[in-house]
């Protein structure tokens, strides 16, 4: 990856708020001294605005009235013209999605809290090894061990969490 590509990736990460405090500080320094980077960041902002506008303007068409018109009707029972499939749902079935959502939320919260406890022991917040690659050999309560590979990646083999000297 050359400098220009790295700079572009850095600006994208800055624009998407993915950088750590020092990363943001570095980009701000870069922006202060490099007009090309400022233009690039402005373009990213414009592109984001355009995407948001197109998402907002792309309304999902309501096909339900057309579907209702083509469905065979039972005598004396008319399907509502709006409201989608929910109109034909048994009353007790309406609680099923809510129950499923509540159960899913409970699972997410339980897993999330568990991960939160585990991630508290981790020190690594953000890492950029430039043109080299880095391997996190350990990051727990005991120590954080980061190994920076040489250009040929000879120090560790892929898939192993052990460096070789």
């Amino acid at each position: 990856m050359n400098d220009q590509q790295r700079r572009r990736e850095l600006l994208h990460a800055y624009h998407d708020d993915e950088l750590g405090p020092l990363g943001r500080w570095r980009v701000r320094r870069l922006l202060a001294r490099d007009p090309a980077s400022r233009e690039e960041l402005a373009r990213l902002g414009t592109l984001g605005d355009l995407l948001r506008e197109s998402e907002a303007s792309a309304e999902t068409p309501d096909l339900w009235p057309g579907i209702v018109a083509q469905l065979p009707h039972r005598d004396g029972v008319a399907l509502p013209a709006t409201g989608g499939a929910e109109g034909g749902m048994a009353p007790w079935l309406r609680w099923v999605p809510a129950g499923v959502a509540a159960a899913a939320l409970a699972v997410v919260l339980a897993v999330g809290l568990g991960e939160g406890d585990a991630s508290d022991a981790r020190s690594l917040r953000w890492l950029d090894a430039g043109s080299r690659s880095a391997s996190v050999l350990q990051d727990d309560q005991e120590a954080t061990i980061i190994w920076i590979m040489d250009a040929k990646g000879e120090q560790t083999s892929r898939g192993r969490d052990r460096a070789l000297i």
Binding site: G20, P21, L22, G23, W25, R26, D120, R122, S123, L124, R125, W126, L127, D128, A129, G130, S131, R132, A134, L137, Q138, Q141, E142, A143, T144, I145, I146, W147, I148, M149, D150, Q155, D161, R162, A163, L164, I165
Partner: protein
């Protein structure tokens, strides 16, 4: 006249108090400092683990394959928030670190070593070990620890 004379000393005192409070608050915010120890090790494919390096050997042994391990230098630095601590490594490069957030356990520290940059939350006593820079047939290992 009397009332203005009477009010001025009180006003000045309040102003002085406010200024003193501002100075104290800003000074306490800026003076949060941390004690770090930076230990530079040399890991080699030959030799033995030297005296003083056993503690690091216990940490590294299960993750890194080597035979020899010795301490090249160990230095202590007291660094304030948003100040930069720096240690020159034997290969001529510099290891820089900067505490950027004093809140939470330990300190959030930004590090800069050659091409490598990163942010780490370092509680006291938990070492950050960065290895991989080739030097004299082995590799340099930099250990950053928050001691206070």
């Amino acid at each position: 006249m009397r009332s203005s004379r009477a009010c001025c000393p009180g006003g000045l005192a309040r102003l002085a108090l406010a200024l003193g409070w501002l100075v104290a608050v800003s000074a306490s915010a800026q003076e949060t400092s941390f004690d770090f120890r930076v230990t530079v090790l040399h890991a080699t494919s030959g030799g033995a683990v030297r005296d003083g390096a056993q503690r690091f050997d216990r940490l590294l042994r299960k993750r890194v394959s080597y035979r020899g391990l010795r301490i090249v230098t160990s230095q202590e630095r007291t660094v304030g928030t948003n100040r930069i601590g720096s240690v020159e490594l034997p290969d001529g490069t510099r290891f820089r670190f900067r505490p950027i957030d004093p809140d939470g356990p330990g300190a959030l520290v930004a590090i800069d070593m050659g091409e490598t940059q990163g942010d780490f939350r370092l509680p006291a006593g938990k070492p950050l070990i960065l290895g991989g820079s080739g030097w004299k047939g082995g590799q340099l290992v930099v250990v950053l620890e928050l001691t206070r």
